[in-house]
Assembly symmetry: C2
Homo-oligomer: 195 residues x 2
C-alpha cells in the first residue's frame, strides 16, 4: 500500500453509502461510490449491490473499486459507517488490504455496542460480524466545524492524517463532501418511483 | 412565472440528463435531475422514466419537478439538449410554462437539422417532434472559457440572462456544473452492473 503523507486539497476520495432497502427482508441493496476531488467536485460514480443483512459488503465494495476506471487515481476510501444494508458489516482492515488503499469509516453518533450486539444475536454469523464491529480500539473522535463531533474508524493510515482529511473535505456541512454526496445520490436514486 | 432578474452565484438550478438505454428498442430510460447551487455544490436528486423514442419527456420531466420537495427553491431548469432517450423531444416552451420556470437547453454541437429530420421520418408523430426541434429562431451561441462554444435554446428568460447563468455555472469545465454532474450520475448509475 502506498503511504499517504500529505493531504492535497484536491485529493481523490471515494465516498461510499447505501441506498434504499426493506429492513429484515431478504433482498439486494444498491451501494453507490462517488469519486470526489477533496471537498470540491464530483468526478465519477460507481455502484454495486449487496445482500440485505448479508456478509458480502467487504467483497462487493472491494470488487467495485478494483474494476473501476478510477482505481489508480484514488487515494482514500470513505465509508458511511461500517454497516451497509442493515448488518452487512464491512471489515475496514480487510477492505483496506484488499484494495490497497487507506479506509476511513465515519459515523455521526458513537455506536451503541450493546444495541448492536443484541441485534446481531438474531442474525447468522453473529461472531464474524461482531469481530469487525467491535474492533473499537480504532474508534477516533474528530471535532469539526462549529464544535460538531463525528467518530471514525480507520485502516491503512495514521489517525491524524485521517482527521486532516475529514476536516479538509467537510466544506459544505459537518460531513465530508464525498459522503454527503454519496448519501444524496444513493438515497435519492433508490427510493421507488412514485408514478 | 417569476421573472429572473439577477443571477446569484448560488442560484438553485435543476440539471437534467438521461441515462443508458438501448437505441431503437421499445423500453424505458431513466432521467436524472440534480439540484445544484450555481456552479458549486449538489443539494438534491430526483428521477423519472421516459419511453425510448416516446413522446412523454415534456410531461414526465414536468411531473418530476412538480412533485419534488425542491420545486419551490428552483429558479432555472437546464436540459442536456432537447432530445432524451433517443427522439423523445422536450418542448422547451411548453416545459417552461408547465413548471413555471425558465428553461435552458444546451448542446455542445450545433444540431444538424437535416440529419434530425431524416431520423424523424422513421418515427411516428414526425411533425409533432419536428415542431419542437425546429423552433430554431431561439438557438443562441455562448462562447465560454478558452473560447469554447456551446449552443442553447431558451424559454422564459432573456438570452443574456441565460448566457450569464451558463458562463457563471461552468466552473469545472465548458459545461455548466448542473449538467456535467447530471450526466455523470445518469450515465454512471444506469449502465448495467457487470457482476
Amino acid at each position: 500500500m502506498r503511504k499517504l503523507r500529505t493531504v492535497k486539497p484536491e485529493i481523490r476520495i471515494l465516498g461510499v453509502d447505501d441506498g434504499f432497502f426493506v429492513p429484515h427482508q431478504p433482498g439486494k441493496c444498491t451501494i453507490i461510490g462517488v469519486v470526489f476531488r477533496g471537498g470540491y467536485w464530483l468526478e465519477g460514480i460507481m455502484r454495486t449491490q449487496v445482500e440485505v443483512d448479508g456478509l458480502d459488503a467487504t467483497d462487493k465494495i472491494s470488487e467495485m473499486i478494483a474494476r473501476s476506471q478510477h482505481r489508480k487515481q484514488l487515494r482514500v476510501v470513505m465509508l458511511d459507517g461500517i454497516t451497509f444494508a442493515g448488518f452487512n458489516v464491512v471489515d475496514v482492515s480487510e477492505l483496506s488490504e484488499m484494495v490497497g488503499l487507506p479506509v476511513i469509516a465515519i459515523t455521526r453518533e458513537r455506536p451503541n455496542l450493546e444495541d448492536i450486539r443484541t441485534a446481531l444475536e438474531n442474525l447468522p454469523f453473529t461472531e464474524r460480524r461482531w469481530k469487525a464491529i467491535a474492533d473499537r480500539e480504532q474508534l477516533f473522535e474528530v471535532t469539526g466545524h462549529r464544535k460538531t463531533r463525528i467518530f471514525m474508524q480507520t485502516a491503512g493510515l495514521e489517525p491524524n492524517t485521517a482527521r486532516e482529511i475529514v476536516i479538509k473535505t467537510s466544506t459544505r456541512s459537518n460531513i465530508p463532501e464525498p459522503l454527503r454526496v454519496a448519501h444524496l445520490i444513493a438515497s435519492g436514486l433508490t427510493v421507488p418511483l412514485n408514478e
